[in-house]
Assembly symmetry: D2
Homo-oligomer: 413 residues x 4
């Protein structure tokens, strides 16, 4: 409570959820920094009402003109989630990056508001041991290099849940009953996924308890009959489910519902954080898991091998950039340019079967199909593929290997 401000700040834009923790941060900013606080609350599909956040901000003394609330769901899915899915992006072979991909957008909005209201600082509620602080702050710095960043969890002296609660009580911050004790795990959620980590999840040898799951039904209790759907793609992005056109966020929401019902998208993972340690998390990405399968499905008939293999080679690096928080960087934009270039004809329809935890592609078709039988006929009455070509193809591919073999023999290797 006797924290001294580390920097001189006049006005700060706080990423404010309306929850207890960011309310404590809000108050701490006022009391420690003595600066004007601007709150920014975004709807990224986390599944919570935003208006209570406004009421709470007012209650905590924020001027109405300093309260910003925005529905970012469409922008989030259209400009962040879908571009990432164009690359079939997974981190460490499995993780769909649901948390990582949301941070740059929140940071971007905070900086925009800071420019608008003339704030000289921004503040986030990420802890000092995780990746999110990095993602927020790299984005802040990239977009406004002279910004001051306040990271309360790295600065304050509040060392325990008890101290936090005491601080809240002292400053008359309302405390929901179930927030007094330590949560058995912490959650981050948006339209793409919910992630859970900490406490009950910390022993990676122990199964994730049932009560941790919130976005997916248990595969075992999911319907006994598969659900079959189609997804239509245009230039690499999904545009319709079962033939019904939808906006990006609406579509992802619909896939989430389908995925939830069929127990799809659970991932129990030990991953490597950018800050250097391993952590165990549980991710639920119902719609994203279906989308990844579907996107690979439509690419399988519309994307050329050269483009597809290059994408596969670039992907791990691209995923790492997003995971580590390097979204607003030249290298990410370079890879995005390459990836987007490849998606020009990734257009068509994929049929999937959803069943008890799995999403299987069972059919794909496209006016741009490179599989289409007719395509391989180039001349009237003639098929392009001649068996005899294979011999020359093999023999020239083998030439260097034969030379190596000859050396081995000659030199007795």
């Amino acid at each position: 409570m006797a924290d001294k401000p580390k920097k001189d700040v006049k006005k700060v834009v706080l990423a404010y959820s309306g929850g207890l923790d960011t309310s404590i941060i809000l108050k701490w900013l006022q009391t420690t920094y003595g600066c004007e606080v601007v709150t920014f609350t975004a709807d990224l599909g986390q599944g919570e009402e935003l208006e209570p956040a406004r009421a709470k901000a007012v209650l905590l003394g924020i001027k109405p003109e300093n309260i910003f609330i925005e529905d970012l769901r469409e922008e989030f899915v259209r400009d962040y989630v879908f571009p990432m899915f164009r690359a079939n992006t997974v981190y460490e072979g499995q993780y769909l990056l649901g948390t990582s991909i949301a941070r740059p957008l929140i940071a971007k909005k905070q900086i925009e508001i800071a420019e608008q209201v003339g704030a000289d600082a921004v503040c986030h509620g990420a802890t000092g041991k995780g990746n999110d602080q990095v993602r927020f702050e790299l984005s802040y710095y990239a977009l406004k290099p002279d910004i001051t960043i306040i990271a309360p969890w790295r600065e304050w002296d509040l060392r325990s849940r008890e101290q936090l609660i005491a601080f809240a009580e002292m400053h008359q911050i309302p405390i929901a009953k179930d927030k007094r004790g330590e949560a058995p795990f912490s959650v981050d959620a948006n339209l793409l996924h919910a992630s859970s980590e900490g406490k009950v999840l910390e022993d990676p040898s122990q199964e994730v308890p049932d009560y941790v799951y919130s976005r997916t039904d248990d595969p075992v209790t999911a319907p006994d009959k598969p659900t079959v759907i189609t997804i239509d793609f245009e230039k690499g992005d999904p545009v319709a489910i079962d033939g019904k056109k939808m906006s990006p966020a609406t579509l992802l929401k619909a896939l989430n519902d389908l995925g939830k019902l069929n127990g799809i998208g659970r991932l129990d993972l030990v991953e490597n954080r950018f800050v250097g340690m391993k952590s165990r998390g549980m991710y639920e990405t119902p719609g994203g898991t279906i989308l990844l399968a579907a996107h690979r499905g439509i690419e399988s008939i519309t994307l050329d091998r050269g483009a597809g293999h290059l994408k596969d080679e670039l992907m791990p690096n691209y995923a790492e950039m997003i995971y580590n928080g390097f979204w607003f960087t030249p290298e990410r934009e370079m890879l995005q340019a390459a990836i987007d270039k490849s998606q020009e004809h990734v257009t068509g329809r994929v049929t999937l079967k959803l069943y008890k935890g799995s999403a299987w592609v069972i059919g794909r078709e496209s006016p741009y199909s490179l599989y289409d039988q007719d395509l391989v006929t180039f001349e009237e009455g003639a098929v392009a593929y001649d068996h005899r070509d294979a011999e020359g193809f093999i023999r020239l591919n083998a030439l260097r290997l034969r030379t190596l073999g000859q050396r081995k023999k000659k030199r007795g290797l």
Copy 2:
């Protein structure tokens, strides 16, 4: 039938399954090339008896000393399948390379026999439109650069099923009743997988018919209760199931049984062949699918981030080498050296839940765990991770981005 031999050959080693097609090839070699035929029949776990092949070879006039039959299952799994799984290898994001990985071993054995019996040629039964001809022949050439290769499907004039049957009848080759007509799809099988392609599978918009599956039960009819197992790894390879030590082939067989029961490992895929066209295949890799999940699981706690990310970056290239048939090459051996180096401490136990098509890792533990909480404590009473370090870490990672941001501002970009 009036085929003229393309090359001068005295003795040829034929990869002989005992089936109708390779029996026709056997006879065709005798009649067209007029050369001595040596048959090689291998057990790679395809699920067929080998002794009937011997009987049939004798029947077709092969001298007993020219009949080679070998059980390669352990060598196949130990020296080909497991090394490949150390890299978490998938082709085009999904295919576990069950066919590709078997070809180099068969080719190697043929060449060894050729050296032993003084044969000047080898022969395989792969068609002229697929990848297998490439895989066989690149391996032949790499191991014995002066070998002559006979690829009947690229050479003969037998243009239809009818002609093949006629040829068989003329040469008194026994024909099973169900082999007279054209098969609705063709199958390749070994201990790692069964693949199906052709005919009924050729329209990629149509679901794979139920009767095509042979190695996996239908997930929908699979047990309603999950099966939980453990797999123990040593240096990257699985060595025990539920604590019971097994040889490589025995272990893979046991995983196959578990996978089959739970409907695990089906893959309906449109892939890009090395010879240039797209093809649609259905793969069943029950044990391999479980193994991939388990291997990623044990790596997640025992492999350092630097090693893990490097492996992920190298993998697509490594997979392409195997798919394209470049197993016996310096570049594959280079990558293998890197991959094997990484597996020194990939030792421990993974717990998995198998259920209706899915294999989920639910726990992992290891004496070499890098996750172990105690490990991150370096000094007595002190934890290595200091929140304050994060600020410097972020600020230096951001430095170049801030410089870029400053340029943008200064130049009005």
Copy 3:
């Protein structure tokens, strides 16, 4: 001479230099294929007059409307050479790809003419053992998949220089005196480079004889005083020398002159051909060698590290695509999109010293410099770099290594 046409062709567009070899091909097409021949002669800066080619084509019976002559120098440099140099492209660490980069343009023009005149075939004069046949034909096929390709060197029965000369004489093709015997080496030239290979160059242990060099003066006899020049870049491409604006081809020509004078750009190389064997070549790329050094120089102050390192990682793959002839492919276009994206601010001036075989960058400046001292100051009176940040930066980068070290110690590894 009794060659039978391999395909049915009505009209063919021949890449025609006007030299003896392509004149023989012209006649051979007429006599063997009995088809109408359209000649295409391009100026890519090879240093030969084009009008004699027209006269010769007329002499050999080509109708005036079937003779196409085009000056492609600007297009060649602007759309092929410069884009390639944006990537600092070298094949196998050294080769500037002077021959490779010209082939796609010639092929493209041939196809355009074929479309225009309604030709059903194209023909080139590349031999059957080199890379150029591949580069021509991959481009032909990519741009017009139903085109028929005639590759005389792979088809005809002319097996020796004598037979070629005899054929020429029989068909009254004029033969320059010095073309009767076999050349001691063969040359390919354009505005970017001259390459020499064959005969006297075939023993890679022997130094290239002096008389092989044509585009560069001997460094030993080059001026004893260095030449200092500046090159200005805009968005990654050179636009001026010593402050004087020039068109792409004019500029490259001027750099060639400067390079020639100072003995710059010789390369004696054993390289790996796409068709499988090693070959020894000697390349002279005077202007290109200067340009590569200069481009790296301007990038060094204008390109961010993330972009620069990504470019370096992508380059070998990009170079291989060009060398192998895959210019008109989705994967090359993807990489080009990434590379071009990186060049937006690669603008500024580089000073170079040219001296007896070397081109050294001795200065670089740019309005977009990321080096500029002022840039690293972000706040009034404050410098962005704080020494104390380094500690946190190092400690978090070291965290995983400390964990590994701890494991080693704990396990006695």
Copy 4:
């Protein structure tokens, strides 16, 4: 001077050069930390006597048993420089990493001494703005995760040359006359290179002044006659010059002399530091520059294309690891395993011409040559390469491109 020790330290191993700066550090450690100081002075070929360092350490109160002096030249070249050159390693396309590669070895020795004498800390003299602090400390932490690191330049209050000199005078540290003022640039040197940076080099638009060069003669005044030498390689490492076998350090020294004489190995570079900013340096790597050319030369005839291209693709990443200080990491060891695997037959002789700044390969020969004409003949009287193979090779490589072309046409793209 009133610095407070940041950590509790009993005994520290200092990387001690014997120069003024590390003498000041030595004293500062004694006075600030009040701990026992152990000095470690290594000969890495920097060109200075070591015994004066011993005398000075004694003078400054170090106990004889706490003074460690070691000649590391052979170990440095054999175990660090040569392995790095096997990869043809250059950072950002040009820099031969002379400073970077020395740091891990010094760090390793310090840690070994710390273990031996029971020290709990190590100390280096690198500044807080450069890469070397990172390289030292990552190595320290990797090799002994519980070590305490003292980085005086990040800790003390000595803010100017004047304060340093005052501190030295107060503690009776001998000060050479020319060390009183600020040096016009700073130098780091070892057997591989000398690097210069700072002050007079800080403006990247200005040419490096002549007096900065110390390891190379001016190319303009270098001999007017080329020097021709041969270098013999065994398994990727150089073993003899002009047929004379030499130890690693002796050989590199001899190459340095040859390079110096001919003005070879100067590099004026703006590079990207790991800590985030650009810096301008001047490097002199005479022997290394010759070695790089020679190694590429011997690889050009002994290394297969597959291995060579893979090496080229891996190199930028490998170079970055070394530059950033990640030598003792699993990922560097993985790449080293791959690289070393490739060098098994990189054995033979290269002839080079050295002349006024350039080192040109003019010949190469090897008993393991893959170029050897005879090798490409596989059968008696027959050459392996058949022109007709090229057609099939091209046609199958073109197949996917033709399919793409057909799609374009069909869809009017």
